[in-house]
């Protein structure tokens, strides 16, 4: 029994005219302390899956369990970093990061200290008093990650968090995220379009297919850390995942990347 269990989940969205089957008969098991990466074509239901696990949506069929408890609405165990910019625009960086701690009722000085540490970890020291509109997209996303980390839930869901970053920053943050994951023994589900990123981070990479969305293949990553992106094993995995993705794309028409 995994820590996160998704069993036969179906998700239908009822639009104005037609209904969309976003996910169908989806099974997923994530062990405690695992770093799971999910890749898949756009629109295949990755965000929908994360929203279901986070308790923001209810499955149309099937069920989701976290720590043997049915997910029924938002719980203390899970938090999610959205694909969109979601910082509160009326709060400065420090108060954004400290939000979850404020909700827990932590003292002001204590939560500010904690938040400052995370801002430093994200390489944004000096921006504590800046407002989100003063930050670039990538900076905002890093603060959103810091905000989620401050909340310190057991399961952390990340929806393409590094999409807006340049390669160097991206690599640095990947390393930091791995460090945090190892130190805090978190269970992470990480959605990305970047195969290289998935192999660098994951203990396991899941490849999703679209129409309707479900898990197509699973690739275990048994490489030692720190992983060398130019090693033969790394590149072999990369090619393997790329081929699976390309097959999915050709099968589904191939117009969307």
């Amino acid at each position: 029994m995994g820590f996160v269990e998704v069993e036969a989940v179906k998700k239908i969205f009822y639009g104005e005219k037609k209904e969309v089957v976003a996910l169908d008969n989806l099974y997923l098991t994530v062990n405690e302390g695992e770093f799971l990466c999910i890749v898949g074509p756009t629109g295949c239901g990755k965000t929908s899956l994360l929203r279901l696990i986070a308790g923001l949506e209810k499955p149309s069929a099937g069920k989701i369990l976290i720590a043997d408890k049915m997910v029924d609405g938002i719980s203390r165990d899970v938090t999610l970093v959205f694909q969109q910019y979601s910082l509160f625009p009326w709060r400065n960086v420090l108060n954004n990061v400290a939000f979850g701690l404020e909700m827990k009722g932590m003292q002001k000085s204590e939560r500010y200290d904690y938040a400052r540490g995370l801002i430093e970890l994200m390489g944004l020291t000096g921006f504590e008093n800046a407002y989100p509109y003063e930050l670039s997209g990538g900076m905002q996303q890093r603060i959103a990650i810091a905000r989620a980390l401050a909340y310190n839930s057991k399961v952390l869901l990340l929806d393409e968090p590094f999409g807006a970053l340049d390669e160097r920053t991206r690599h640095r943050l990947q390393e930091q995220l791995l460090e945090i994951w190892e130190r805090e023994k978190k269970t992470i589900i990480f959605v990305t379009h970047n195969i290289d990123e998935a192999i660098f981070l994951a203990t396991r990479v899941l490849i999703m297919r679209d129409r309707p969305g479900r898990i197509e293949k699973e690739v275990k990553v048994n490489l030692k850390k720190p992983r060398d992106r130019r090693s033969r094993e790394f590149l072999q995995l990369h090619i393997k995942i790329r081929e699976i993705l390309e097959t999915i794309l050709t099968e589904s028409g191939g117009n969307n990347v």
Partner: protein, 272 residues
């Protein structure tokens, strides 16, 4: 500095044209000279026509407006929050609001005068024949001011609450917020700029409406009353000076709220 100077060009032109015609007409009870009016304004504490000074009349009007406006805020903001957030309240109040909204506050003046007669706040507290300010706050006027201020405040609050992005609410919920936190830490700050816009417009309308309300019988103070009284006595210099004062006070009130609103809404103005 340059923008201030630019803004002064038109008022100065108006003064010149006014002075030109005043000299030409040469009849102070028709069009007084600019100097005569500014001489009145230069002595704000002088008793006018045995009714009290400009300062006195302005204070009476301002007290009425602030009380009526406060009433509109106390009812308009919470009701707006409820209607914007809770479907039941939305369904309960929407139809009646839509019917009442097109009714201009001025249209209520005769009705209010008929219902409330010349009762004042002092009468409510049983202080008849009192000379303090409460003897000057007619309930009918309060009602009309309240009515004028209510709709912009209420409607902007509803709009503000409805436009809170669900992304922010979901983010907060995922960070451990309960419904009370959501209200206090997300809904309120997120809709604060819209609410303050409502307050600014509402205060402006309240101030506009009071002048009309004061022109009706039942009061012997207030800047609107002074305008009517100086009209009857053909004291055009007092009449025009009063109008300038109304404009100036209105502008100051509006500017005051705008300063607060700009500070609160800074994040929204610059959001991309």
């Amino acid at each position: 500095m340059k923008t201030v100077l630019l803004g002064l060009i038109i008022p100065i032109l108006i003064l010149i044209v006014w002075e030109y015609f005043a000299v030409k007409v040469d009849n102070t009870s028709l069009l007084p000279r600019v100097e005569a009016v500014f001489d009145r304004l230069a002595h704000p504490f002088t008793n006018l026509l045995d009714t009290g000074s400009f300062v006195h009349h302005i204070l009476v009007s301002a007290t009425r407006v602030l009380l009526g406006f406060l009433l509109a805020v106390i009812i308009g903001v919470p009701l707006g929050l409820l209607v914007g957030r809770i479907l039941l309240f939305h369904r309960l109040f929407s139809p009646i609001i839509e019917i009442l909204r097109p009714l201009c506050p001025i249209a209520w003046i005769p009705f209010a005068m008929a219902i409330f007669k010349t009762y004042t706040i002092a009468d409510i507290f049983g202080l008849h024949y009192t000379t303090n300010i409460f003897g000057q706050i007619q309930l009918g006027m309060l009602f009309v001011i309240f009515y004028g201020g209510f709709f912009p405040i209420f409607l902007n609050t509803v709009h503000g609450v409805k436009s809170v992005k669900s992304l922010y609410i979901e983010s907060a919920l995922l960070l451990g917020a309960n419904q009370r936190d959501i209200f206090k830490k997300i809904i309120l700050p997120s809709s604060a700029p819209a609410i303050l816009t409502g307050l600014r417009v509402g205060l402006g309308i309240s101030w506009m409406v009071i002048i009309a309300a004061e022109m009706l019988p039942g009061s012997d103070a207030g800047i609107g009353y002074l305008i009517m009284f100086s009209y009857e006595l053909a004291e055009m210099d007092i009449l025009i000076a009063s109008m300038i004062l109304i404009g100036a006070v209105g502008a100051v009130l509006s500017y005051g709220v705008k300063v607060i609103a700009d500070r609160t809404g800074r994040w929204q103005a610059r959001e991309r």
